[in-house]
Symmetry: D2
Subunit: 307 residues, 4 copies
């Protein structure tokens, strides 16, 4: 079983390839994971936002986790999102994840409920107690509509309740404060940035890893960025990040699609164009990208040297 | 099976009484439902926000629905909330509700996902297709973080996809526009207000029913308000509403509790003080109200003539 | 000078008619105010949101106030908005309003600044001290991005700091609570609703007056609604409100315009179509409505019996 | 007169020292500006958010600009905030700034008004036309409640309407995209970050300058950070930034103060403790920090080596 320190580096939130009728496309999933491992990623995160976790029913969630564990075969740790509305329901998801054999779970604060800091802390304590798996707190206010408190995160880390944080809050002040507070507490937490385009800056200030949705499309680029940062070659890290930031423009091409369908759709469409997965279909109610936007994405992939 | 027009009048969103260890307190639930029916309510809505739907796991959700159906025994229609993150997951909830024998289901737009109007419409079409039960759209932006589009609601009503709307949006302009647009379309929708304290005004402008959380505590008051409105005695309706609005101050007494725990906690605490349910315990992570606030609630219940 | 109780009934927030080059169109303004007075309104509110206060410079603001005072000639009280960023700046506006001879001023909480309840209370105390004019607090979160605290309003009323509240918050629960708390305190405050389409319900629950932007277009309709409510004929009030709500659809016709330009533009365009003002031009950066939307508004005016 | 390229490097948003009765404390202002120039800053920004622009009346705003121009005596460029509600009013502010002799002006999108992208663009065109001074667009959604559009900014830059952008949006993805789009357009814009604690990362990705409120307290630190970045010594830049981030904890010490009073109050209190300004008093309604929090700030200043 991985130790906490195992969790670092580039850990892409893997998309879930689907067949035309909405079933897991196992062959595509294997190609995708293999391409990630060949590129040198340090871990995999299934059932994240990029993995369509919010859209999938329980049966498909289990299929995804089981397939990922089997395909990865222990070469890197596999983390899994356990996204549900509230404590009791997330606990159920944790038990399903443990059954599937993943190495760690990633949970948000409660959804839907008008909650507060005390309840969020009690929530994470409950979720952590539901299994022996390391628990990462996922801070994504754009989806959850609350922000995780800095003091709570460090406290839960110091007590061994959570093993780390995936920060997709877009609050860079908060992230630097979290890095400093974690360091002052003896670094109990592994701190990941969930963003794609200021990863150089986040690694410069002390992030332990990165979970970029765009890493589905160009895992080798993020591994080069990580390696440059590890070597202290910040100019090289910046240049690689600039290239990846230009590639990230794929998510801004869709017009008239929802935020979810645009981002996730751009990743899936790119992977289809690159021949990694068989289809860019998504789970209802999200439509697959089609028409002109596919050509626009193709141009960007070519400019980034991927096509 | 109820016709669509069956759904009108006072339909309280019934709380879920729990034992100290978080199990459904069946005896309390029976007393609660019986007190509602004795007061003359016209329907029951289980697994709404007041029913702790967001906190309960699937097993307990089914227990609640089955118990409500059994206790009610067809005397009034039983509606059930089918709250989950997205289409496929809500469809599963709908099937569970149908298995439990309820008379209608109530669903929100997707949670967590950054969605748009097209996806929300596709979502409701998917959910409706999962069973033969009448489907009500639940508009509660404070929890879901999106607002249901007026044009979509009337369109889905006219096509028979949804049977009605439970409006907890607090947008009274929007609600009056919805009432007018529905009337212009031949009134395919049953329109309920989910609010507690301007029910007189909402009935005056044409609401078909009311789903007040406070109706747990004083169902007879809302029935009197409804009857006065039906009789066109708006001064009497207003006076009853003023009394109920004073009673509603129970939800503003808690200090340091979350919004969810304050409102729901005030209802459960009142029901315990009135001897209807055995305990005010709630599902983790929400704490039960305790201490001084219980005394403050007791005073308000007494002033309202309930204690 | 008006007493506080003078302020009640229908008090339209008068638009500011402009010439093509952005100057006050004095002749149009006189026709507009005269049409309001002929319709029986009980007061006038200049330099409200509908009066383009946010767009006008200080010189034009003074012209508007002076013209309104002169044209009205004491027949009804004239209230004026004193909208600016913070206390010292609003105090300057109050002094200019006093110089212009208006009967009361209407101020919001500070703009732009990240403030809190204590600062907002201190702000209103400072603004009130800047003149002897009655001060009304204007609660309009959609513009100010903060909500006025209920307890503060009643406290400031009881101490004679503010004379009333213009509530454009859209929070009907909050408004009913404010009405109840004011009554319990001996009714020191005059409470106006700033909304257009649930005025029947707001009068039913105890509002002292209404400040409807739509009252520019159909003042006689709001006077009829007010009179019906005063007579306790709520069915008549509701029917008149239904008619006015249908008329209010003018503000939802513009496509591709900002929220500000849509609402205000619909009022000005209607008044131009009705021959009351000479032009629907607005202050930069808001564009005047033009093209197809003008025809759509014309149809609605005709359906409402105004054209 | 400065050329556009003059505007780069460290440009602190200078606080406005006040006497106990709210007048500009000219002697303190001179000490403050002199300390900034001695530390090697590359420009000064008066009447920014840190300069209490939102609180000051027009007379005091003019005094601040005139004093800054006189004290600086051309050694570095002086930029001035021209914050007001809408176009016509901001144009007035621009003319006052030009009269005072500043070198550039900084304006936001309209406040209070429900506006849109077209109106915001027209607004900046109007403001730019009011003088010959270079105009910088100030993007601060936490105060203005709208976000400036990337395409508009580059378009206005390419046409010479605006000279640059002060980005206090906290949207690091947006800022990197803006840097890339500006570069692709031939770099017409000078791009400043308004943040304090990820300046190393923002310089790494290509910011032209930094406008840190904390630069009031430790201008030499930001100059060292800037110099390290210019030299490509990113490890040194990061270490200096870490030190400054620890110092920035002063703004998180106040409890029970507003966001505005906390941040600005911490800067003024620090400057008073450091003997640079005579008092930490602020303009009503913001209270000066007092009591325990002053001691907490003193400790942090000492830990940062400033006391």
């Amino acid at each position: 079983m991985p130790t906490t320190t195992t969790f670092s580096g580039v850990i892409p939130p893997v998309v879930t390839p689907l067949t035309a009728d909405g079933e897991l496309d196992r062959a595509s999933f294997e190609r995708l994971i293999t391409s990630q491992l060949d590129a040198g990623v340090h871990g995999l995160f299934v059932l994240g936002s990029s993995g369509e976790v919010a859209y999938l029913d329980d049966a498909r969630r289990s299929q995804v986790m089981e397939a990922a564990v089997e395909i990865t075969a222990g070469r890197v740790p596999v983390m899994a999102g356990v996204i549900d509305i509230s404590t009791r329901r997330v606990e159920d998801q944790v038990r399903r994840a443990a059954d599937a054999g993943v190495d760690a779970v990633v949970a948000t604060a409660p959804l839907y409920i008008r909650t507060n800091d005390d309840e969020i802390e009690r929530h994470f304590r409950g979720v952590a107690a539901a299994s022996d798996l390391p628990l990462f707190a996922y801070d994504v206010p754009v989806c959850v509509h609350s922000k995780l408190d800095l003091g709570m995160l460090v406290r839960l880390g110091s007590e061994g309740v959570i093993a780390g944080v995936k920060d997709s809050s877009g609050d860079d002040v908060g992230f630097r404060r979290l890095v400093a507070a974690n360091r002052a507490a003896g670094s109990p937490l592994r701190l990941f940035t969930g963003h794609e385009v200021v990863v150089d800056g986040m690694l410069l200030l002390g992030a332990d890893g990165v979970v970029p949705g765009l890493g589905n499309v160009d895992p080798a680029g993020y591994v080069r960025l990580w390696d440059a940062a590890q070597a202290g070659d910040w100019a090289a890290a910046r240049d690689e990040q600039d290239r990846l930031a230009a590639l990230f423009e794929i998510v801004f091409q869709p017009r008239g699609y929802s935020g979810g369908a645009s981002g996730l759709g751009a990743f899936k469409t790119s992977l289809q164009l690159l021949g990694v997965i068989g289809s860019n279909v998504m789970t209802t109610p999200a439509p697959a990208l089609e028409g002109e936007v596919v050509d626009q994405i193709k141009v960007i992939l070519a400019e980034a040297g991927l096509l």
